[in-house]
């Protein structure tokens, strides 16, 4: 590609997959000037999908060779014992990071990484960023790759470190959950893990900790797991499969509050009324979660709950469950994500949901920003809200692992073109979204945008036996917009992707 060689300092905000790929693609597109990657996390870029799967289970009690990404490699794993002191935790962090750290291409060997420092403010017109440590960094071009953080439930109850409430987004999150699991797995009784949120991450975590021997319940207000993407038939088939594997699903109900240690002892006994004073000072931080108070999802935070025990086995939700307390030793909240864009407030960019960009990934200047400020900003990864002409002209964020790599390539070409003063027309950018999800014995592989469908057809397989293979096809206005395969051979993937490419090609 005959790109001009550009100078100038490009800052990449965010040191995840998107930030790393942006650096690589800027070099590939001919940018010769200095590159700085600024990351809030203290770690060099690493791969997040294993955090809910093999890395979460790695060498924990109960993890067989299948629960680890690498059952044979004993070398790098020595030292991850069952001790919990700080020194061991540091060693564990290093070993686990090494397992998932991205290799960096030689072309980015000279890229500067400023890690452990978040960007707190941006002045696009003045081309300056303010960092959390008080430093100021100037730039000629800016790549927004700050990604997402987990949404948290704002319900009463124990919160913060040591509370037993977890999320999974970062390596540090994974380490905290591992430490809790390791401690709880010492108990003769199976640890009771409640996963709040039946999306892909929630289901992956549920399958992983269930395989470790935990007693797992998934709470999902919307219905069967992954409903919004998969549709009812496939979602229900997967729920039934997971239930047969021992995971309990509590659907149609919401979390109203968490109970804490001191109220219910070990959480076995029914609560008395005083235990349900969920707003009092007893729920200050430092207390540990013992149970999850659930209620009708139609009335979040509704009427005062009445104490009831939840029996074992699959449960369908409804008003009868309002106020029931589900005992929990560990809670994992997987209830969606929030874009990390607060630092762009006041810049004039549209950050109502991620960063609004055009089809070339260039940020669209707002009314209060000068054109000069806006045009030198591009966004990549799950924070970028861009229109994909394969489907329509509506800008959307796409939270798939493939998206940082796809968007970084295009964003780099756009930014290098702008820096060189020559805007290239490289044609419409229409990446085919793709994701996979490993859930116990099931592997889901999707192409396209199933969530856009108004019509879903089960094309292959028996919903009663997802393990044997299922294929669902997703249509909008009669046109194929996506497919989801469950346990189909990987040799089928090219055909499925090609079929989708052909079906969506006419739109470009």
């Amino acid at each position: 590609m005959a790109h001009p060689s550009t100078a100038g300092h490009v800052v990449i905000a965010g040191a995840g997959l998107g930030g790393l790929r942006a650096a690589e693609q800027l070099r590939a597109a001919g940018h010769a000037g200095p590159l700085t990657v600024i990351g809030a996390e203290p770690h060099l870029p690493y791969n997040r999908p294993p955090l809910s799967k093999e890395l979460l289970a790695h060498e924990l009690p109960g993890a067989g060779p299948g629960g680890s990404a690498n059952g044979q490699d004993g070398n790098a794993q020595r030292g991850i014992g069952q001790r919990g002191n700080g020194e061991t935790a540091t060693a564990e962090l290093a070993v686990l990071h090494e397992r998932i750290a991205f290799r960096r291409r030689a072309s980015v060997a000279d890229v500067g990484f400023r890690l452990g420092t978040a960007i707190v403010a941006a002045d696009l017109d003045g081309r300056r960023l303010s960092l959390g440590d008080g430093a100021t960094v100037g730039f000629d071009g800016l790549v927004v790759a700050t990604g997402l953080r987990p949404r948290r439930l704002g319900v009463p109850g124990p919160a913060g470190p040591g509370s037993g409430r977890h999320v999974i987004r970062t390596l540090d999150d994974c380490l905290e959950l591992r430490a809790d699991l390791r401690a709880q797995l010492q108990s003769p009784r199976a640890p009771r893990v409640v996963v709040v949120g039946g999306g892909f991450v929630g289901c992956e975590v549920a399958c992983t900790v269930s395989a470790l021997g935990c007693d797992v319940t998934v709470i999902e207000p919307a219905g069967p797991p992954m409903l919004r993407v998969l549709g009812d038939e496939l979602a229900t088939a997967i729920q039934r499969h997971h239930e047969r594997a021992g995971i309990r699903f509590l659907t149609g109900v919401s979390v109203l509050a968490y109970t804490g240690l001191g109220h219910t002892g070990l959480g076995h006994a029914p609560l008395d009324h005083t235990a349900l004073d969920l707003t009092g000072p007893d729920h200050a931080r430092g207390r540990r979660v013992t149970g999850v108070v659930v209620g009708d999802s139609a009335e979040p935070g509704g009427t005062e709950p009445a104490a009831t025990d939840i029996p074992g086995g699959p449960i369908s939700g409804g008003p009868a469950l309002a106020g029931a307390v589900l005992p929990a030793d560990i809670v994992v909240e997987a209830v969606g994500s929030v874009p990390n864009t607060e630092w762009l407030a006041g810049t004039g960019l549209d950050i109502s949901d991620g960063v609004l960009v055009d089809n070339s990934l260039a940020a669209i200047p707002g009314t209060t920003s000068t054109a000069a400020g806006g045009t030198l900003v591009v966004a990549v990864g799950d924070v970028a809200r861009f229109p994909n002409p394969l489907f329509d002209d509506i800008p959307r964020r796409v939270e798939h692992w493939s998206m940082p790599t796809d968007t970084a390539r295009r964003a780099a070409a756009t930014l290098v073109g702008r820096l060189a003063g020559a805007v290239e027309d490289t044609g419409p950018f229409g990446p085919i979204p793709s994701f996979w999800s490993d859930q116990g014995e099931l592997r889901l592989q999707s192409f396209g945008s199933p969530a856009l469908a108004d019509d879903i057809r089960l094309a292959e397989g028996d919903p009663g036996e997802p393990r044997a293979g299922l294929l669902a096809e997703y249509y909008r206005g009669g046109r194929n917009v996506g497919s989801v395969a469950v346990n189909l051979p990987p040799s089928r993937q090219r055909e499925l992707r090609a079929a989708l490419a052909a079906a969506t090609a006419t739109a470009v």
């Binding site: 490699d73 290799r103 051979p489 040799s491």
Partner: protein, 62 residues
């Protein structure tokens, strides 16, 4: 250019076979097969495949 795949972490996701079908393919048993010494002209494809691997099991050695 030599391609190396760490089969202790390869999970047969098949993303490489989509990114670089001339180098990687999934056989009928669902397992990965690949050309160890592809033509240097396929470097960009090989890099795409390495990037696309969910387990990051692919290394390109010069």
């Amino acid at each position: 250019m030599r391609i190396s795949v760490d089969f202790t972490i390869c999970a047969d996701h098949g993303q490489c076979a989509i990114a670089a079908p001339d180098i990687f393919r999934m056989d009928d048993e669902g397992h990965l097969a690949f050309a160890e010494y592809p033509d240097d002209a396929r470097r960009s494809e090989a890099e795409d495949a390495a990037d696309a691997c969910p387990e990051q099991a692919i290394t390109i050695i010069d």
